[in-house]
């Protein structure tokens, strides 16, 4: 709760700075503030408490994920400095929106009431619509914003309908009440329908097949930093929320009571497989790096959805997976931001010869791609490992084999980029070494590797 308040306060401070003409201080102070929030959040870790009539329920799960979100936001804010260099008058808005977005995200994982959940997801979505469309003179950005907005509100409508049906069945929005009454046998059919609609809405947010179509277009059209935000923070938030919804509302047991569990699991398996396959295969022929990473994100969503099959045991795995994925995503996007600063697109050709001109950045991008591909020592590997382990233990060996095949396919396009960096001749000068970009890239990939070397650090948090 304190975290939430602090974040919101920080957002307002950002706006105030603009008024106080402290533009230059915004980013450093925001970062410091976020670090403070992170500390606060750590301090809260381990306390199970609910605030304000259980509107906000702080648990290990919520604090752990909140910390991850905060860390990601720190990186994203740090990257803002260079990204918004040409928009000095808007920087406070950008930063404030990101901070509010974080507030929404934190609300989404620590909600105790569906109202909070709904408001959280809307804050997140609206902030993202704005950010996607924020390059207002760029038609691509407009288009991305519009597409995202239309489809996002559509999905919001479905989520809202789901919440409504749940309310109809339960007479309450409170998660713990729903959790308890979910087991009663006398539930009207509205409850499972509502659940499924909500889950579908969330599947849209995580960009799972067949609700994924927006992702590539929006990722491609949005300004690169927004894409970074979407592919790391937003995706992670969405999947974490989905997980929390399913875990928090006792979905599994209640579906089991109504003999719907099998079909539900079949659906999850199918969506997971479809996401992995579609994401990976479609990524193969992409030229635009952001678009490629969008498809890669779709496939990762497929992987992460596997945790929904083992909800009771896989919170830690999900946390680990999301952390690994998001950290490598941040590292990758920092490099992309650097490389495509002055370009009007993010095509692979821009990366030619990066290995020669900027070996460090090339190495970082390589590392992050390897992590996403699941090559050992990077945390992406362990993430997949733990995930597969969990899933095989639950008996879904076929699903794991499909996932493995998909991992193989994914190497194909990740390596396309690596090859472009190392075995092609550079086609442009790359000057300047923006400190914040370098720092972000290095720190995020270092964190990624540390997670790889000591997975227990994160994994055991939620066990």
């Amino acid at each position: 709760m304190n975290t939430l308040i602090a974040i919101t306060g920080l957002g307002i401070f950002c706006l105030l700075f603009e008024i106080l003409n402290l533009r230059k201080a915004i980013i450093p102070i925001t970062i410091l503030g976020l670090i403070g929030v992170l500390a606060l959040n750590f301090y809260e870790f381990g306390t199970e408490q609910s605030y304000y009539n259980n509107m906000v329920a702080v648990s290990k799960f919520s604090t752990a994920f909140s910390s991850l979100f905060i860390v990601l936001t720190i990186f994203l804010v740090a990257l803002s400095h260079n990204f918004y260099q040409n928009h000095p008058t808007k920087i406070s808005d950008y930063v404030a929106i990101k901070v509010f977005l974080l507030a929404g995200a934190v609300a989404m994982v620590s909600f105790g009431n569906l109202a909070m959940f709904f408001l959280g997801i809307e804050i997140l979505s609206i902030a993202l619509y704005v950010l996607a469309a924020s390059d207002r003179l760029n038609i691509k950005s407009n288009e991305a914003g519009m597409k995202y907005f239309l489809m996002g509100s559509f999905a919001s409508g479905i989520i809202l309908f789901g919440i409504c049906l749940i309310y109809g069945a339960m007479g309450s929005f409170d998660i713990s009440e729903i959790h308890e009454s979910a087991l009663s046998a006398e539930l009207p059919i509205w409850f499972p329908i509502g659940l499924i609609l909500m889950i579908i809405g969330m599947l849209f947010k995580v960009a799972a097949v067949p609700f994924h179509f927006w992702a590539p277009d929006v990722y491609e059209g949005s300004p690169a930093l927004t894409t970074a935000l979407m592919s790391t923070l937003a995706k992670v938030v969405a999947i974490a929320t989905l997980f929390k919804l399913i875990a928090g509302m006792n979905v599994i047991s209640s579906l089991e009571n109504q003999d719907l569990l099998n079909t539900f699991e079949v659906i999850v398996v199918i969506i997971s497989i479809a996401s992995m396959c579609v994401g990976n295969i479609m990524a193969l022929r992409q030229v635009n790096v952001k678009r490629m990473l969008a498809f890669s994100g779709i496939s990762h969503a497929g992987f992460m959805l596997m945790t929904l099959l083992t909800v009771s045991a896989s919170a830690g795995v999900l946390l680990y997976y999301t952390a690994a994925y998001a950290l490598s995503g941040i590292a990758a996007f920092s490099v992309i931001l650097y490389v495509c600063r002055d370009q009007d697109n993010e095509d692979i050709t821009n990366f030619h010869g990066l290995g020669k001109t900027n070996p460090l950045l090339a190495a970082i991008l390589t590392a992050s791609l390897l992590s996403m591909a699941g090559i050992p020592i990077f945390s992406g590997f362990f993430a997949k490992l733990f995930l597969f382990n969990q899933t095989i233990q639950a008996g879904y060996i076929g699903l794991v084999i499909v996932a493995v095949i998909n991992s193989i396919i994914s190497v194909g396009y990740y390596f396309k980029l690596i090859i472009a960096m190392y075995s092609k001749e550079p086609n442009q000068e790359r000057t300047g070494k923006p400190f914040l970009i370098y720092a972000t890239a290095v720190v995020s990939i270092a964190l990624n590797i540390i997670l790889g070397l000591f997975p227990s650090l994160v994994l055991d948090l939620l066990q």
């Binding site: 597409k147 239309l150 559509f154 479905i158 499924i196 067949p210 079949v266 990524a283 022929r285």
Partner: protein, 627 residues
């Protein structure tokens, strides 16, 4: 003491090899030649000492150096067995070896790589000694492959000529085919008796109660295939004539006197195995006979002086195998020894001729050398008489023994052997007449330079001629020293010495007459009628077939080499690319799907939402309606 002796025996040639390899060039030709020769000579002296010891004690010496290869049920030592057989072999290997080394000093003096030549020769002697004195089959195998290697190196000694290299390669590979047989034979024996050690094996076989005779036969057959490769028997004989590409001393040492007899050595060594495999013995006899006949027929029409000798070698080896096939090991060994003398002498003689003619090997371009090269002529004549089986020369006794044995076992094989002998006499004297009689048919340039070879060449010739004359004494019919000497080796009572009865004398007479007949025909054809073989393109009919060696090389080429090569091309061009394409196809398929999939991503919000709704309907209806 024994160990030291054995080590000196083995290591001196190796040392010679090493010295020549590393310092040969700087030492100068003569010195390196001398080192090579001395190294072998020392081995010869040691062999003599050992021979002396063996004859006096009558017991073999076993030396074990160290464990070599460990296999679960086999423990293979690197060890030596110096018994009657091996020492006998040692004697003529090192003896003739020394002579040929001596000969080579002069013969190879013009070659810039003389030190290399000597190092290879020394290496050969080293491996040959290893082969002979190994205490088990695997040590024999070291030598076996080692001499093959040296043979390869020496055949291809003039490596600028790719034909020679081809010949060298062919020799090595043909040998390797045999080696595989030998290996398989070893495997079978190893698994049957858990040992490859001769001595242990012998006792094991003697003690074995119920042997799987078919398996043992198989082993024997495989071993015989090995022997076929090394000793140039059908079907693996074709390398030997080609091997004449090497310098002549090599042909004399390796391809006449020593290496090619390794097969006979091995069979004799394992006589206790072959004795139990009677059907294999028949095979050996038949193959030996056929080889001797086939090689002899080819030898009839060859014009290359060394080729004639080569086919003669194959033919003689065939006779030895004929004897082996009848279990008459000591007879085969006897012929090995006499053959080593006279064939080495013949080769060296031909070398002397070639040397004198500066590399000319075609007999059609020779003639009349008798006067210019008297020593060469006389020594070669003696050897030719010996090989033709003219009485009281060494060959007479040994060949006669073989034919006698054959007669006692199988008349048809006897006839084949005899015919081969007659042919031998014919082509040997064809060689003599064409080379040494009548007028010189070469160029004026060559005629001008004709001369007798130097003493380093003639001395070995003379020694060998003497040996070729008197070598028969070691196993005179009825009073065979050799048989007694070798007796401890054999399990079966040997065939015993043939009682010199009427039959024997008759047969002897027939053989002598046959030999003389061959000589006579040659005399008539090439001396009286003064025929000179036709130029290559004019050869027709049967002669053409013979001249082209029954087209065996061509057949092998068409049946084995060409298919393998085209298979290789086929694999390379189709299977490999196909497999590769198959793997790539997976990627291509994925890419193609991606390409098609991209079309689905039209950018139209309507479509996206449509799919969204469809997905929603599908999920909801699956969960709630599809019960």
């Amino acid at each position: 003491m024994d160990t030291n002796l054995a080590l000196i025996l083995v290591l001196t040639p190796l040392l010679g090899f090493l010295v020549n390899v590393f310092f040969g060039k700087s030492l100068g030709k003569t010195v390196s030649g001398a080192i090579g020769t001395i190294a072998v000579a020392i081995s010869f002296v040691v062999s003599l000492l050992l021979f002396n010891q063996i004859t006096s004690t009558g017991k073999g010496i076993e030396v074990t150096l160290f464990d070599w290869i460990q296999i679960s049920n086999l423990k293979i030592n690197l060890g030596f067995l110096l018994d009657q057989l091996s020492v006998l072999w040692l004697l003529f290997v090192t003896g003739i070896g020394s002579l040929i080394h001596l000969y080579s000093i002069s013969y190879m003096h013009d070659d810039e790589n003389m030190h290399k030549f000597f190092s290879y020769l020394n290496l050969f002697v080293f491996f040959m000694i290893t082969l002979v004195i190994g205490s088990n089959l695997l040590v024999l195998f070291i030598g076996w492959e080692g001499v093959g290697l040296c043979s390869y190196l020496l055949i291809g000694f003039w490596h600028k000529n790719q034909d020679y290299n081809d010949a060298a390669k062919k020799a090595f590979i043909m040998n390797r085919i045999g080696d595989l047989g030998l290996l398989i034979g070893m495997f079978i024996i190893g698994s049957m008796f858990s040992t490859l050690d001769y001595a242990t094996l012998k006792t094991a076989i003697a003690g074995a109660s119920n042997l799987d005779s078919s398996l043992l036969s198989l082993a024997a057959l495989c071993l015989f295939i090995g022997a076929c490769g090394k000793s140039a028997q059908i079907p693996l004989y074709t390398w030997l004539p080609d091997a004449m590409a090497g310098p002549t001393p090599v042909s004399a040492l390796i391809h006449a006197a020593t290496m090619v007899t390794a097969g006979i050595f091995m069979v004799t060594r394992l006589n206790f195995v072959f004795d139990l495999a009677t059907d294999v013995q028949s095979v050996i006899a038949i193959i030996g006979a056929i080889t001797s006949l086939v090689a002899a027929t080819i030898g009839l029409v060859q014009n290359d002086i060394k080729k004639v000798l080569a086919y003669s070698t194959v033919s003689q080896l065939g006779l030895m195998f004929l004897a082996l096939g009848f279990g008459a090991y000591e007879v085969a060994v006897f012929h090995v020894i006499t053959h080593a003398f006279f064939k080495a002498c013949l080769f060296l003689g031909s070398g002397s001729v070639i040397h004198g003619l500066h590399g000319e090997q075609d007999m059609r371009n020779m003639g009349g050398l008798r006067k210019v090269m008297p020593i060469t002529f006389w020594t070669m004549l003696i050897s030719s008489l010996a090989i033709s089986g003219v009485p009281f020369f060494s060959g007479f006794f040994s060949k006669d023994e073989i034919l006698l044995t054959a007669f006692h076992h199988s008349i048809p094989l006897y006839v084949v052997g005899s015919v081969a002998s007659i042919m031998t006499a014919f082509y040997m004297f064809r060689l003599m007449f064409l080379t040494f009689f009548k007028e010189f048919r070469g160029t004026e340039e060559q005629k001008h330079h004709l001369h007798e070879s130097g003493s380093l060449i003639t001395i070995p010739l003379i020694i060998l001629a003497i040996l070729a004359t008197f070598g028969g004494l070691i196993s005179l019919p009825g009073h065979s020293w050799l048989n007694k000497y070798l007796a401890p080796l054999f399990t079966k009572a040997t065939e015993g010495e043939h009682h010199l009865g009427t039959t024997e004398y008759t047969l002897m007479g027939v053989a002598v007459l046959g030999g003389l007949l061959g000589i006579l025909i040659a005399y008539v054809k090439y001396f009286k009628q003064d025929n000179v073989p036709e130029a290559d393109e004019n050869i027709t009919g049967l002669s053409k077939v013979l001249y082209n060696k029954y087209y065996v090389d061509e057949v092998y080429d068409a049946v084995f080499v060409a298919p393998v090569n085209s298979l290789s091309k086929f694999f390379r061009d189709y299977i490999e690319t196909g497999l590769s394409a198959l793997v790539f196809a997976l990627g291509k398929i994925a890419n193609e799907i991606a390409f098609q999939g991209k079309k689905l991503q039209t950018g139209s919000i309507g479509l996206y939402l449509f799919v969204f709704v469809l997905g929603l309907c599908a999920i909801v209806s699956y969960i709630f309606l599809a019960q």
